[in-house]
Symmetry: C2
Subunit: 251 residues, 2 copies
């Protein structure tokens, strides 16, 4: 099996099965794995959906030892990207996007996608260069969330941001030198895109210049910064808090 | 070198040097690494502090290839734990703690410590069993933050929680079935401990029963949950937001 066409781990495979978004060719389960709980749910779901699964000696999965696969691997079709133009012109009135600008660690990309899904965001924009692409590690770190949100791959973030602005999106970049605290922005009743920068480099200067707001996360100790996936979850859930609390206030 | 007595990665070693909390025996820098930027800052700081560093052929670091060490490794004394009784009776009036209850992934433990440091929390309580302990991976994921906060190792979480309650701490546990949203709790003007549960198991029933509040993070899509380090950062920074906004209101 091509390592680019696999997914691994119990939750990832379970969520991918549930989503019906991918063609799953075959599921391989190690004979030495305990088939209680989640593995049994996967087997039941595969039976219902008519997907082939096979118990294999654990040696057969040894070549995937670089992945913490928990004794289960599936061969799948690639993740489906959403067309950007189509995304812009369909769906709800107020859309919420994450833009990744140079996030290199696939674990971070995966957790950001997972958080965005939990928070009801509409899409993730990933540049085709200088950013981790969707791979087996991203899918695992997202716990299968890549199948529950629009993933949009673009060649130029600069052009993408211009286009978003023409479609009345507010652009919010994050930077340690930002003027406002992230919680001083009103995230309600608008479409917006939140730009998260790379682990070492942050949001690029060019993209900072194009942004409507540059927000920071306050540091209460003299210490560098949050991990980028944690920073993303802090801001994403501040927007959720505002939506839920403002809708309560208006009742 | 014993793999339990090393730390690795540029930011981790830089922050550890800065903190003055650990005895650093020697720093090994791969000859093939680019000594611009952070590596140069490490060399300068090591010179000032009289710490030995040595350029070595990259083969010498090959046995640490399991770690993404970025060409730099240091041999250090173990992390210093803080005595629980001492922690309880010293320091500021209102203290904020994180309790880890079965968090197994060292990357998650490291990022939670990093977030707690950024947010000005006072300590992290780690049970000596059924939880990842401080190791090289935790230190790297914390970006050196383990040296900037009290790390308290305890044998029994149950006894620890009882003791915290006697010292007027509020105990806040997180659980998907929690009654309140995490932002409906008032985190101001009190000492509290926030319990984060393991990736698969959550906070144990016994500890949930002992808690004053059980809070949830609302899910806006039908999807399982956040990664535990992201969940921690969402709640930790909600407390920061409340402190900063309430102190602004009272000016």
């Amino acid at each position: 099996m091509d390592k680019n066409s696999i997914i691994y781990g119990k939750n990832t495979i379970f969520e991918t099965l549930l989503s019906d978004k991918r063609q799953i060719n075959k599921i391989f389960i190690s004979k030495s794995v305990n088939t209680d709980g989640k593995i049994q749910e996967i087997i039941d779901l595969a039976r219902i959906k008519g997907i082939v699964f096979q118990f294999v000696p654990k040696e057969k999965l040894a070549k995937y030892s670089e992945f913490p696969h928990q004794g289960i691997i599936a061969q799948v079709s690639p993740v489906k990207y959403t067309n950007f133009e189509e995304f812009l012109t369909t769906g709800s009135e107020h859309k919420k996007l994450i833009i990744l600008d140079g996030v290199e660690d696939p674990h971070n990309v995966g957790s950001i996608i997972r958080t965005a899904v939990c928070a009801g965001y509409d899409g993730i924009i990933i540049p085709s260069r200088r950013n981790a692409q969707i791979n087996a590690t991203v899918e695992k770190s997202s716990a299968g969330a890549v199948n529950h949100i629009a993933i949009i791959q673009v060649n130029s973030l600069s052009n993408t941001i211009e286009k978003l602005k023409k479609h009345n999106y507010w652009i919010i970049a994050t930077d340690a030198k930002g003027k406002d605290n992230y919680f001083d922005i009103d995230y309600c009743n608008m479409s917006f895109a939140l730009i998260m920068g790379g682990e070492e480099t942050g949001v690029s200067k060019n993209n900072l210049n194009k942004s409507d707001f540059i927000v920071k996360i306050p540091m209460l100790r003299n210490f560098n910064s949050l991990n980028v996936s944690n920073a993303a979850s802090v801001i994403i859930y501040e927007s959720v808090r505002q939506w839920l609390q403002s809708s309560n206030d208006s009742v």
